[in-house]
């Protein structure tokens, strides 16, 4: 579903990603872990189409199409979703209407009919339950005055309503208390399906106790330095990121592929 080949990315002339290779198949959940500054968020944003980053080499293929040639809104239309590490507040725009307009923008892109208000309300009610979100938040402005946990739940809600083929979750677990973490993980698990892929970016192993990944990749200084099964996350938790730093140079070639 997603093929990243030798991806090099820089910002203001500084190389941040230095040859990423990653292959994610439909139905799989991949975890990307790494210390601060390793390039995790850059990877997420480049996949979603953030223009501040310059792709200097490599390619990103999504369902056979060249993702790098598309605008962020085209990527959304094609079925890509990024759950933001820091969701943006939109005062004056009611959450409910925002979500419906987003869904309709994507439907319009696909040449489908817009969803009407009544059908949307039913869909919304169903999905709100999954993330255990207070329904009153649907009437409030998008993310305005939401707690950290509410913002992250709102991201998962958006994801479940927009129903993407590939979801990239950028540190969705950061800053959550254990209850919120469980809810967010439950939302992610509810969306696991044979025709959907997910890339879960996280700093901590904690989330992976609830969302069990098929593959784990460790990112360090812009390269994937280790890849393995779910046990790799536990090993990393135990030994810390310093362990990766020591082995990074020799492990780099082995990390290629996924």
């Amino acid at each position: 579903m997603l093929e990243i080949k030798n991806l090099h990315v820089s910002v203001d002339g500084h190389a941040i990603l230095k040859g990423i290779n990653l292959s994610v198949k439909a139905g799989e959940v991949h975890a990307v872990m790494g210390p601060n500054g390793s390039g995790k968020s850059t990877l997420a944003q480049v996949i979603a189409g953030r223009e501040t980053f310059e792709v200097t080499k490599g390619e990103v293929i999504f369902q056979g199409k060249n993702l790098l040639e598309m605008s962020p809104e085209q990527r959304a239309g094609e079925g890509l979703f990024l759950a933001f590490q820091y969701p943006v507040e939109l005062p004056g725009i009611a959450n409910m209407y925002f979500l419906r307009a987003a869904l309709n923008a994507i439907r319009t892109y696909r040449g489908e009919d817009e969803i009407d208000a009544i059908d949307f309300l039913a869909l919304c009610k169903e999905k709100v339950k999954i993330v255990e979100m207070d329904e009153r938040l649907m009437k409030r402005s998008v993310n305005e005055g939401f707690s950290g946990g509410e913002k992250k739940r709102n991201e998962i809600l958006q994801m479940s309503i927009l129903n993407p083929k590939l979801a990239v979750l950028d540190e969705t677990d950061s800053g959550l208390d254990i209850d919120a973490l469980r809810v967010v993980a439950g939302g992610i698990n509810a969306l696991r399906s044979p025709d959907r892929a997910m890339v879960v970016i996280t700093h901590y192993q904690r989330l992976l106790e609830y969302v069990v990944p098929d593959r784990v990749h460790v990112l360090s200084e812009g390269r994937i330095v280790r890849s393995g099964g779910k046990d790799l996350a536990l090993e990393l938790e135990e030994k810390g990121y310093a362990w990766i730093g020591e082995g990074a140079a020799t492990a780099a070639p082995a990390g290629a592929g996924g």
């Binding site: 605008s71 979703f81 990024l82 933001f84 939109l90 005062p91 004056g92």
Partner: protein, 446 residues
Amino acid sequence: MAQDPGARDLYRAHFESFEKSLNGDAGAPLHSVRRKAFERFADVGFPTRREEDWKFTNLAPLMKTPFRVPNLFTLDAGARKAALDELPGDGPRLVFVNGRLDPSLSGPIESEGKVRLMSLAEAFRARPDIIEKYFGHHARHEEFSLVALNTSFVRDGAFIHLTDGAVLDTPIHLLFISTAAAGPTVSHPRNLFVAGRNSQATIVESYWAPGSDVYYTNAVTEVVLEEGAVVDHYRVQRESEAAFHTGSVTVNQARSANYISNIVSLGGGLVRNDLRILLDGEGAASMLNGLYMVGGTQHVDNRTVVDHARPHCSSNEVYKGVLDGKATGVFNGEIIVREDAQKTDAHQLNKNLVLSEEALINTKPRLRINANDVKCTHGATVGMLDEDALFYLRSRGFPREEARNILTYAFAADVIEPMRDEWLRTAIERLVLARLPAGDRLRELV
């Protein structure tokens, strides 16, 4: 009027022909006020950029335009129909065409009872008692030359008197319409609102044109709030984009009076809004909401002064500006805290969103504090659309232009949402959306 002899001759000619048209009324006490005001105006002329408060607004194009005195005070059928769409279905209203009341669009006129609503021209005849007590006491022609110009030509406008304890549930709408198909004209609407003790009302003062004519509106509104009065005042300026508009609102608040100003500037080519509030009784409170949204070559200048003269008063001012194209804007806000005004709680904030490379904003928040036990803050920001937010919206499937619109609307929404009158809030939301490219697509979002 040292700066433009042509303008001096023009307004003197206007004044002379105005005096002639008054016939017998030229001897009335009001006319001696007019004469004094005109002498003052003839002496000082239009403000120039040499004055601190006019540094960023150049009235030269206004002075060079040969305005005539309008002679048409009714609308054709098409404009009439359009004008009705500018008003809610019912409720009290006064509609003025080129500065004079159009009785066929106005009503109900009341000169007795708890709420007196009539044209100022009628009030000069029917309620000289109230005129005598309030007219011209706060909008000082001795001090402000545009007020002097307006006072020179005082003839008509809106007069609202809420007697003590009168509470009005339905907003009063005042609509000032300008048409100048036969060449540029000038009008000087003059309004007087007096809210008696513990009275309460919502007043909507709108300036609008059915066409795109060149004309000049020089309006003055005096608002007097007696003890405990509550006035929610909306001023919605949607003049033609070829028009000049100078509007001055002077507010005087007695003890515990509560005044809410909502000034929305969307139209006009060259616009100056003056708002001067005097908190002249303990515990008086003011809220100042401002929104200016300009594009093309529009210029809008907002001058506000909140003068805390007594202890325990509060004022909260938020002005937001959206500037596109080659538009220019000014925010020049001042809070004065006098020596006696201890326990003042005053806040001022001006935020600007600049959508194009060529748009320009000058913002100058000022505090002048002469008391020592006060809580005052002020601030100003100028920014472009937030790239993070744009990316967020686009990643959710919104095309770039729509994402820009959503963020622009969201920026303005802060000052629209607190508006308490629902009909008007909805109308302003629509007007703001209409100023965005393809903004109608956003309508269901808000």
